[in-house]
């Protein structure tokens, strides 16, 4: 392919990412399983990048999980989404950032439906008005939270305290990037880089000094698949997918996995525990797993936030080997201490997977 052609294709997969004034909506999964991640994102935006971001306590779930598991009618989902937009409109914002990849896909899907079927939009406006008395405007710019970090990756790198470099060897850390399916596979032109070569995480990793691993099952789903995991008898499908990915990446000895999707983060992190118990396999070095971080947590580490402040102690796989490689300073005795030094208790130990 000629270089000109390549550039033309790449232009299709560039997206406009707003500069400032964001309305932030949280993720159900992320704030429960990795509670420090979203707080870290807001802290980076406010304290490091000095941006205006509004986190509305009145916003709710987008109902994406209920929608994808077929337990909530589409009209209800659309009305709930309309309410989120109404909150944004009331607060005077036009740039909408969902934290969750499932939400991001759902918002895009609904906006696309409304674009093609204006009569549905009018119906939803009516439903929302009747139910809550609210009205709303459509967002001018809607991007995923990882797009924001991607946009400001150089600025973050310029303020970084650490880099994705092994302090002992001086070599770049080998990083696996995993992108949630609903980020680019539903609407490729709404992502950075498209569905085949999404750039949003690899761009961040390379800018911060790491080396991205290209392994055969790189674009395979994490296995969540909603109905695969939510029906207990089907959970084998989920962990078969997780195992397939880990079997595929294992020969490349990754130091770290970074995800931009809350669900993927859960299954790649906690899935290592399930595989270790059921199959007796551990994928990291010395009996430990491969640490799995969200992009916000990674950004927090890079700019020098305390690892325990950004919630790395609630990960199933211990992050200490990664912190040691990066040379991040931390206090081991404070790992399970909460605010004002209150003990949080100790987690139970897995049988096979080693933890700190």
């Amino acid at each position: 392919m000629k270089n000109v052609g390549k550039q033309l294709i790449w232009q299709q997969y560039q997206k406009e990412i707003a500069e400032d004034h964001f309305f932030y909506v949280r993720s159900c999964i992320r704030q429960n399983f990795f509670p420090g991640a979203e707080a870290t994102f807001l802290r980076i935006l406010k304290d490091v990048l000095h941006k205006d971001v509004y986190d509305d306590p009145a916003h709710t779930t987008c109902t994406g999980i209920g929608y994808h598991t077929d337990i909530i009618p589409l009209e209800t989902t659309m009305t709930v989404v309309a309410r989120q937009f109404a909150l944004m409109t009331e607060k005077g914002y036009k740039n909408f950032i969902p934290s969750c990849v499932t939400s991001f896909g759902l918002y895009l899907e609904i906006l696309e439906s409304w674009h093609n079927h204006p009569e549905v939009l009018n119906q939803i406006r009516k439903y929302l008005k009747e139910a809550t008395g609210r009205t709303f405007e459509l967002p001018e710019n809607i991007v995923h939270a990882s797009d924001i970090i991607y946009k400001f990756r150089r600025e973050i790198a310029s303020k970084a305290k650490y880099r994705l470099v092994n302090q002992q060897t001086g070599q770049p850390l080998r990083v696996v990037e995993h992108i949630g399916c609903h980020y680019a596979k539903m609407f490729p032109h709404k992502s950075v880089g498209g569905a085949e070569f999404p750039r949003v995480l690899s761009g961040i990793i390379e800018e911060w000094g790491g080396e991205v691993i290209d392994y055969p099952e790189r674009r395979h789903c994490c296995g969540f698949g909603f109905r695969q995991y939510f029906i207990k008898a089907n959970r084998g499908y989920t962990f078969s997918s997780v195992k397939k990915k880990f079997d595929s990446m294992h020969p490349y000895s990754p130091d770290l996995i970074v995800t931009n999707c809350p669900g993927c983060n859960v299954f790649l992190d906690k899935g290592q525990y399930v595989i270790s118990e059921q199959e007796g396999i551990v994928y990291g070095a010395n009996g430990y797993g491969i640490p799995v971080l969200t992009f916000e947590e990674l950004a927090g580490l890079i700019v020098g936030f305390d690892p325990w402040d950004i919630g790395l102690q609630v990960h199933q796989v211990s992050v200490e080997p990664l912190l040691d490689k990066m040379g991040v300073w931390y206090e081991p005795e404070k790992k399970y201490r909460g605010k004002n030094n209150i003990p949080l208790g100790q987690p139970l130990q897995p049988t096979v997977l080693k933890t700190f």
């Binding site: 207990k232 118990e277 049988t351």
Partner: protein, 111 residues
């Protein structure tokens, strides 16, 4: 081990570089028309045996290429050698000869 209530199924990839092709190669050597198959499924649609079994020559050909010989063995047992598949084949594959050669190959020690 905790009771998870589910188990992990092992992955079943078919690596075409590593599949067992001895039976397919044997048939191909004796009856090169097998290579003309376009997997249209006309043979399976017209198959008399398919009325009371899973027989489909299209599937047999695919399984041969994938080296799934145990499944091939089960399917070809149902063939009556009536030759209707030969009549409908748009690519003139000698399907009856194919079946006979598969039977022959399955009885021989092939590497």
């Amino acid at each position: 081990m905790p009771d998870f209530g589910f188990s992990i199924q092992s992955s079943q990839p078919i690596d075409l570089d590593k599949t067992y092709r001895a039976v397919y190669n044997f048939v191909k050597e004796k009856e090169p028309s097998i290579q003309r198959c376009i997997y249209c499924g006309a043979c399976g649609a017209t198959c008399t045996a398919a009325n009371f079994s899973q027989m489909s020559l299209r599937k047999v050909n695919l399984l041969l290429l994938r080296g799934q010989i145990a499944e091939v063995r089960q399917l070809v047992e149902h063939c009556l050698l009536c030759g209707k598949c030969m009549l409908v084949c748009p690519r003139n594959v000698n399907t009856r000869k194919m079946i006979l050669l598969i039977h022959q190959a399955l009885k021989m020690p092939l590497s």
